[in-house]
Symmetry: C2
Subunit: 405 residues, 2 copies
């Protein structure tokens, strides 16, 4: 298409008056419906050990909920805490506790002067928001197809004791869909860090969120850390947010026994215990690892056609455009669309004018600053199958128009 | 009874081999049963404004949940946040946010050197645990029949800018059952504080938890603060923990518009939103203020006979014992039993030997230190009506034996 054709098609699209939100990785209503049985399954309130889940107590979560996450994450149940409806809260609190109380027998992070986190980019905006709010400087690390650039990571953490942590979405990363190779996991676990209280914030948000029939497996980070002699380095976070109900699921944290004890010491001051009724409801509905896998297969069958529709439209309209590419993730919730340099913000603005709300350009980078203004995070899950083709077409037209301007 | 008779009766009691836990203010199973309808009521997942409660979002809580707490606490719904299953978490996070970020436009509390909180005593051990964990020095303030000793409070806060807050359980206080007079509320709202970022942590845990048919009303602290020109001084905390299910209810925070904005700014980094399905479930079950009041009346009818049984046993066995007294609360969950000086710890130990677990003596004081070793917190709610008379008798016998030793 020449510029006039693109402008005409964009204008025609705009006049459809669509109103679509693709800004967040929200499950669609039909995905939420898959867990309708969540509420029907609860006959009584007794956990396996006789606990009355309605009452106070049980700070680390119900035994059966811990066992379920243990099986899902391949971690002993004793090394799992199930708490809250949002793993983001657990991540925030791990950092808040480290800031206020310290970890690994070291002084509190607040007492250690300026501290930093490594942030593989593009990455998850809510991770970056936590660091920004808590005054932790963020250092960009480029992603490769196999995870973060490990040569750079190793040299940075070896030389600066102020680098206290690193954000990792090791499988189907947000937004690039990157899967960390076993070699990357091993190097992260084994690398020399100047800080004795360095932590891998291992956000395993998409552990069982496959888009292909063949599930991707990655190395177990707790095992790798233990083998490397750094058992307390990684803290894993996961949730059922994209398994059952996004706002009303259960979240988990898995770590070494020392880290679990550390967490428990500080978290027990904050709460008498999580919502155990919801945990019981979840365990009775999900049953076990096989139950979760069967449910995730039903999610996959709803999500895959939406991703395919985006790929099809993008392929059709953007396939031969100079400087444009996008990721084809094997799991997770996002596609990372790359525009020609300097065109991401403008594309998002034009898409907005045409009724399509996207994540703000730059959101995948610390401080919202994409140095080349190239990345747009596409979240295909929420719109209906009917709308997703239109939406992808509209985004592509917006990009073409932005590129032509 | 003489010492030998006491010893013989205690011995006989011990041989009954009871196993009763009166350590915490836990609702009894029959109280939890009152909310069985909580799970049956949810037909769909749509809030009044069309929100799909299953999905992400809604950081400040469902509008109808905010409206319900607003009606219960006599605060505009816009000044209410509903979040989490535990008001303790909200209290912890208010203090953590102030430590990390500061409040009222002042530097963070962490940057302001040594800081302190005033703690009316006896008080709630979990409040004190938060201060202790977060390194906030606690200053005891004696309670009177109408609330904390205000002459002392006023002179302390006027002279020390390091005093940043004060714990208040203004109605049916834990454990003394004290109700703050309107005069005390007014003085707390109006007093001159050296710290511009001083906060009243207003734990209104027992706002609608009456033990007498006639409900006690107290002055509205937010109104009093606004009238005194200190609109941002008080933050109110409340929950349905002792209304529906203790571990699976909903918690609320109410405050000035400026404080709500401050909370939201920091809390929104921590979570994408609370469990809105549980909020919907609660609002549909509880309906409105009248619905809560009707449910609380049923709680009252279950709780009152337990308190009466304790009063009866204590009156019978301890009524004429030198140095012994106990409170007769008009609401809340506790009785504060005063032993002769130096006898509380020993009484708790003897009760334990006889199968009755009580809150550790001293728990009602900062750092667990009751200077005179006199206070024992009695929580009559959890044992059955059948057991409560035995338990009260056992405690009385333990006290008598301790006193006689």
């Amino acid at each position: 298409m020449n510029q006039a054709e693109v402008a005409a098609q964009y204008q025609a699209f705009k006049e459809l008056g669509l109103k679509l939100d693709m800004s967040r990785g929200k499950p669609a209503p039909e995905q939420l419906d898959l867990s309708a049985g969540l509420l029907a399954e609860l006959g009584d309130f007794k956990a396996q050990d006789g606990t009355d889940t309605r009452n106070y107590g049980g700070a680390v979560g119900l035994p059966e909920a811990r066992a379920l996450f243990g099986a899902l994450l391949d971690v002993p149940a004793a090394q799992v805490v199930v708490d809250s409806n949002a793993s983001l809260s657990l991540m925030h609190d791990v950092i808040a506790f480290a800031l206020l109380h310290g970890t690994a027998g070291q002084p509190s992070w607040r007492e250690q002067g300026a501290i930093s986190f490594l942030c593989p980019v593009p990455g998850y905006d809510r991770h970056f928001a936590i660091c920004e709010a808590l005054g932790i400087k963020m250092i960009n690390v480029p992603m490769t197809d196999a995870g973060p650039d490990m040569d750079l990571v190793e040299s940075l953490v070896a030389g600066d004791a102020g680098i206290k942590g690193m954000w990792c979405v090791p499988k189907y990363s947000n937004p690039g869909g990157v899967v960390y190779s076993d070699e990357v996991v091993r190097r992260l676990a084994a690398m020399q860090t100047a800080a004795p209280d360095f932590r891998l914030m291992w956000d395993d948000a998409y552990h069982f969120h496959h888009l292909e029939a063949r599930a991707v497996e990655i190395a177990n980070v707790l095992d790798a850390c233990a083998e490397a002699g750094n058992p307390d380095r990684a803290i894993i976070f996961a949730s059922t947010s994209k398994v059952t109900h996004a706002g009303a699921g259960m979240a988990a944290l898995a770590a070494s026994p020392a880290n679990i004890a550390w967490w428990q010491r500080h978290a027990s001051v904050r709460s008498i215990g999580p919502d155990k009724v919801n945990q019981l409801r979840h365990v009775r509905f999900l049953r076990d690892k096989a139950g979760v896998e069967a449910l995730m297969e039903r999610h996959r069958l709803l999500l895959k056609p939406k991703f395919d529709a985006v790929h099809e439209q993008f392929g059709h309209l953007l396939g031969n455009v100079e400087g444009v590419s996008w990721t084809r993730p094997q799991g997770g919730y996002f596609i990372d669309l790359l525009t020609p340099p300097g065109k991401a913000k403008r594309t998002v603005a034009l898409a907005k004018e045409a009724g399509i709300t996207l994540t703000p350009a730059g959101a995948s980078f610390p401080y919202g600053k994409d140095p080349l203004d190239r990345h747009i995070r596409i979240a295909p899950s929420f719109p209906s199958q009917q709308d997703i083709t239109s939406a992808a077409k509209g985004i592509a037209l917006a990009l073409l128009l932005a590129a032509a301007e």
